[in-house]
Symmetry: C3
């Protein structure tokens, strides 16, 4: 698969998943219709905005391709009206969110390498792409970002990014490495939630 | 009027209006002199920073042209000292803020189209230009951004952006479309405040 | 000394200092290991991210040069484990933070001038480079940024930036002006803390 097609597919799937997460947070915080849609958009494409603004990849993907903005907007609108049905799906949401996390980490790392960054910088971009939207979501509703103090979340993104960078270094097939990276983040995230693993806290 | 002149005029008027809003919030939150000025600057030019960083329009307008930074700084300084007089003008402030909202939405949409974005992306940029500064202001003083949960505000910006994009598509005169967009946002904002309209909230 | 070498040296020293400040805040707020490291990174390189994203200086320095990301990450890791020892050093931390403030203000102003900004814009960039990381740190842990309402902090950065811009205008030796700027910010910051000076607050 070409680099560009791979990026678009990874991005669009992740965007809808993250939009659901943002919209549900907005509903919970009693935002109005615009607020719910905005939070869906910001959660879904905020990480990509940070990625592209730091890479200097203009025009940023989510503005250049109208599907990137329409997809989370429609998702937010739908969640606004049918949120009780969606909130019942918390287990399924955990799974799709775990997949979105891996997708964004890999897509971000991939794009950073394409723009000529080294391995350390590419992992940084992959991580911020994956967790940036959720951090914007939490800051906008006045919460300390979940990713900074709860559960194994960012760690899964970091490891997926490292795997993809390693594969790139050894010139492995990029589709296979991408899938492996997403699977790694997904598995780690789901298993850690199920087993209630968490990162160490300061003494 | 040339594109560039139109942009500068729209920007400068909006900047002073938004600086007043930021400075008054800073005074209310008991920030110090630097804090009041910084909040005035951030509210006034924060939306434009986001716009230019996402468009890749370097150097960003507010840094390239010294008037864009000096105008809100002086506004913040003046408000710091005469805020009781200004706070009495709350009705007038509502009117100028409504005008600023429309001005920024139209200026942002205009610049996005100039940079080759499509209609959806341009509306996104116009909206974030109009509401971005106020969101930064609210996040910095630890409030959930007003625009996400109160009144008709962002909706007015979105509609102004859509009107301008439509005018651009049909090649209407850009000055007339700009004025119509600002008037639309202004009227909707003022009437909705007066009639206490608000966007729907989740059930 | 060449412009580039001067920038790298100024940046790396400031980065470690600011990373300590971020990591200690993370420990205090009971973030987990990833959270402490992320806050160290964000505090250390967040100001530079904003600077480079506004200047259009791609790839941004902290991603292009792996030392810029590894240095605060290791600093965060170390602080996570030995924070009681470091917290005892509060007086020394005040001194290094004051030095970091001056270093970032001068480095930011220098880079902005290198990118062709005028004096007002360069001072704006210098100031936001110096205080941006700390503001991100405070917003992420849900505090109103200290710099907006406590003590003389940003003022020291602004004055260092103005001094450097003045030196540049009159073509003074840039190493000497840089040292003078850092010394000015450092002295003002340390003396104002010692004498408990603070900026005026609104009546």
């Amino acid at each position: 698969m070409s680099s560009d097609t791979l990026l678009v597919v990874l991005d669009l799937v992740g965007i809808v998943v993250f939009a659901i997460s943002g919209a549900l947070t907005g509903v919970e915080k009693r935002l109005d219709l615009f607020g719910v849609i905005f939070l869906a958009d910001a959660t879904a494409i905020g990480g990509g905005f940070i990625r592209d603004a730091l890479l200097g990849a203009f025009p940023v993907a989510a503005l250049h391709d109208w599907r990137y903005l329409i997809a989370p907007t429609c998702t937010g609108l739908i969640v606004f009206y049918i949120h009780p049905a969606i909130a019942k799906l918390s287990r399924i949401l955990l799974l799709v969110d775990a997949a979105g996390l891996g997708l964004f980490a890999v897509a971000g790392t991939h794009k950073a390498l394409d723009h000529g960054l080294g391995p350390v910088g590419a992992c940084g971009i992959g991580t911020i792409t994956a967790i940036g939207g959720g951090m914007i979501r939490d800051v906008l509703v006045r919460e300390i970002p979940t990713v900074l103090h709860k559960e194994i979340y960012a760690t899964a993104a970091v490891l997926a990014a490292i795997l993809f960078v390693t594969g790139d270094h050894f010139a492995w097939n990029n589709v296979i490495t991408a899938i492996a990276g997403v699977a790694l983040a997904f598995t780690l995230r789901v298993v850690s939630t199920w087993r209630q693993w968490s990162a160490p806290v300061p003494k």
